[in-house]
């Protein structure tokens, strides 16, 4: 899939700044995500990737600069606000509640109530509707190797749990899905499943921001790669334009790139 950089970015930051005392975590960072692409963000530890992601997902309020969603300036003061605008985040390992079942986890915080008096007065949950929707989404994403939608998440493998988290983001994300190290805690085989799942979600039209330390994974699935260094964007490359070692060189500052992101 090629990214059309002439379109309006679906999510964009302009000269974003966040300081913690004397430390500048985000230093006039620019960032663009275009429709239908997987954009990987890579960078060394402490480069400010997480701060950038937190700003995009509403977990952190920037000091300066602006965030544009579909070209419109937005201000998130909490992850809930970002989520209400269709930005979903999949977290590395804190994603799911182990004792609750799959359907409960998918709808946690966004439960469906029964119609009529049962729902409005007695606040009764529509468990059937939630289970059906959960089943549909899991099947759509090819995750229905999980037999029972009402089994506790703790009985699933790490990859399956991550699958539940991805399904949740795909179920509610309407604009962007942010995935923070989705394969970090997984084995080889399970990583593959999650990577395929990421592509599946992208092919369904949701653009994805993928944060990962795993270069082969990044080079496999990303359409473009945003390299973060010292709190700002050092370069935007594609898996076709640069090699992994070049990417690492840019990441660590061994290689300077005066690249125009539009040309990438």
């Amino acid at each position: 899939m090629t990214t059309n950089t002439n379109q309006t970015p679906i999510l964009q930051t302009k000269s974003l700044v966040k300081r913690y005392g004397s430390v500048t975590a985000i230093d006039h960072a620019d960032f663009e995500l275009y429709p239908g692409e997987i954009l990987a963000i890579i960078g060394d530890n402490g480069a400010g990737k997480s701060s950038l992601i937190k700003a995009l997902s509403g977990a952190l309020v920037p000091d300066e600069g602006e965030i544009l969603l579909d070209g419109q300036p937005v201000n998130f003061s909490s992850p809930m606000e970002a989520r209400a605008l269709g930005i979903e985040t999949v977290y590395q390992n804190l994603a799911v509640s182990p004792a609750l079942n799959i359907a409960d986890n998918l709808f946690l915080g966004r439960e469906i109530r029964k119609p009529g008096i049962l729902g409005s007065v007695f606040r009764m949950l529509d468990k059937k509707a939630m289970e059906q929707k959960a089943k549909d989404k899991m099947t759509e994403l090819g995750l229905m190797t999980i037999q029972n939608i009402s089994q506790a998440v703790e009985s699933l493998s790490g990859g399956q749990r991550q699958g539940v988290a991805v399904a949740r983001s795909a179920l509610f994300g309407t604009k962007v899905v942010i995935m923070d190290e989705p394969t970090a805690a997984l084995g080889v085989k399970e990583s593959r499943r999650v990577l395929n799942l990421i592509k599946e979600v992208r092919d369904r039209g949701l653009p994805i921001i993928l944060i990962s330390h795993n270069m082969p994974h990044v080079f496999e699935v990303a359409d473009r790669i945003h390299i973060h260094r010292l709190g700002r964007r050092a370069a935007v490359i594609t898996p076709q334009s640069h090699s992994m070692s070049e990417a690492v060189a840019i990441m660590t500052g061994a290689l300077e790139v005066k690249s125009d992101p539009q040309a990438a």
Partner: protein, 360 residues
């Protein structure tokens, strides 16, 4: 096509190859489950099963040892009466333990509420219904104080409620002047407060209104925990607060609501308490704190939060009641009742750990 692109695509291919080989090792750990493992899984899946089995076994054993006297409808309803207060306060304690907290002040809240109800109705001549409402409000405020200490000041629940336990108990002694309100005074001016002590006869079983209220409360709270979003959030908050927060749950609000609700349930327990003992004593219900925790633990609730069923607590309370009653009828000294309850607690938690190991 540049050479770098080729290099990358071979890297990806290699990676694929390696991953495909990994398939070979997949699912090699599956083996046939032994009967014990299946039993363990069953217990893990149905948290009420273990205490239920203990309850049935206990009833069976005592009916063999003591005989028909134990198994009579009258005696069994007596056990229900005896566990009503613990059951009621146990509901409050379960809610809190499900959030991975603990409340040492439940007994003190109950007694404080009962003293307030009594003084309002008898000393100030308030309408009994109003006195009841004031007592329940006191319970809610006490719960709000506990919840605020835990969510705003971020105190550990154990410490916060250890403190409020003493505070509430002292307030209760001060407000009551350490005096008991006599049963006759209550029945003359505010019989409503004793109303829950009335019994109805069902085939020889003496059911008090208080026991029925307790059973109704179990059903209501069960519904709230299992069929409302709030209930799911209580479990999620206790299970993994960080994950719950990331899912958009305002865990502090959930905690606060749980402590307030627990306070209200304790105040209802105060009403049941007045019905049960007739009078209002600032010294009553002193052991309720720990007894409620005992019921919850024997009922299979995890002290680490997020796991357990509200009905487990009812069964836990009944197990304790059955053992005390059965041992008493068998003519065993009271001290051995305490001994047995202690063993039960240790066994219950031991079984819980065993169930959790390897199945989670």
């Amino acid at each position: 096509m540049s050479s770098t692109e080729q290099k990358n695509s071979t890297a990806v291919l290699d990676h694929d190859k390696v991953a495909d080989q990994a398939q070979v090792y997949e699912a090699r750990f599956e083996h046939k489950e032994t009967l014990v493992q299946r039993f363990k899984k069953f217990l893990h899946h149905y948290p009420v099963a273990a205490p239920s089995i203990v309850l049935l076994l206990a009833i069976f054993c005592f009916s063999l040892i003591v005989g028909g006297r134990f198994l009579s409808a009258f005696n069994l309803s007596l056990v229900l009466q005896q566990v009503t207060i613990i059951g009621m306060v146990g509901i409050a304690q379960t809610l809190i333990i499900l959030t991975a907290g603990i409340d040492l002040s439940v007994g003190a809240i109950m007694v404080l509420a009962s003293v307030v109800m009594g003084r309002m109705a008898i000393d100030y001549g308030l309408d009994p219904w109003l006195a009841l409402c004031v007592g329940i409000a006191v319970g809610a405020v006490a719960g709000f104080i506990n919840g605020s200490l835990i969510t705003r000041l971020k105190l550990p629940p154990f410490i916060a409620t250890l403190g409020t336990w003493n505070v509430f108990f002292a307030l209760n002694l001060w407000y009551s002047n350490s005096e008991t309100i006599r049963a006759e005074d209550i029945s003359n001016t505010a019989p409503l407060l004793q109303w829950l002590g009335n019994t109805i006869d069902v085939f020889g079983a003496q059911l008090t209104y208080g026991s029925l209220l307790m059973l109704a409360m179990f059903v209501v709270i069960w519904y709230a925990l299992n069929w409302t979003a709030w209930g799911r959030h209580v479990y999620a908050t206790g299970d993994d607060p960080a994950a719950a927060k990331l899912a958009g749950i305002r865990t502090d609000r959930i905690l606060l609501s749980v402590y307030i609700l627990a306070g209200i349930v304790c105040a209802l327990g105060a009403w049941v308490l007045i019905g049960r003992i007739g009078s209002i004593s600032p010294q009553a219900g002193y052991t309720t704190n720990l007894d409620s925790i005992t019921a919850v633990v024997i009922g299979g609730c995890s002290l680490f939060g997020g796991r357990g069923s509200i009905f487990g607590t009812l069964i836990g309370a009944l197990v304790v009641g059955i053992f005390r009653n059965g041992l008493a009828l068998a003519g065993v000294d009271v001290l051995w009742q305490e001994f047995t309850v202690g063993i039960l607690i240790i066994v219950a938690v031991g079984v819980d750990q065993w169930i959790r190991k390897g199945t989670a």
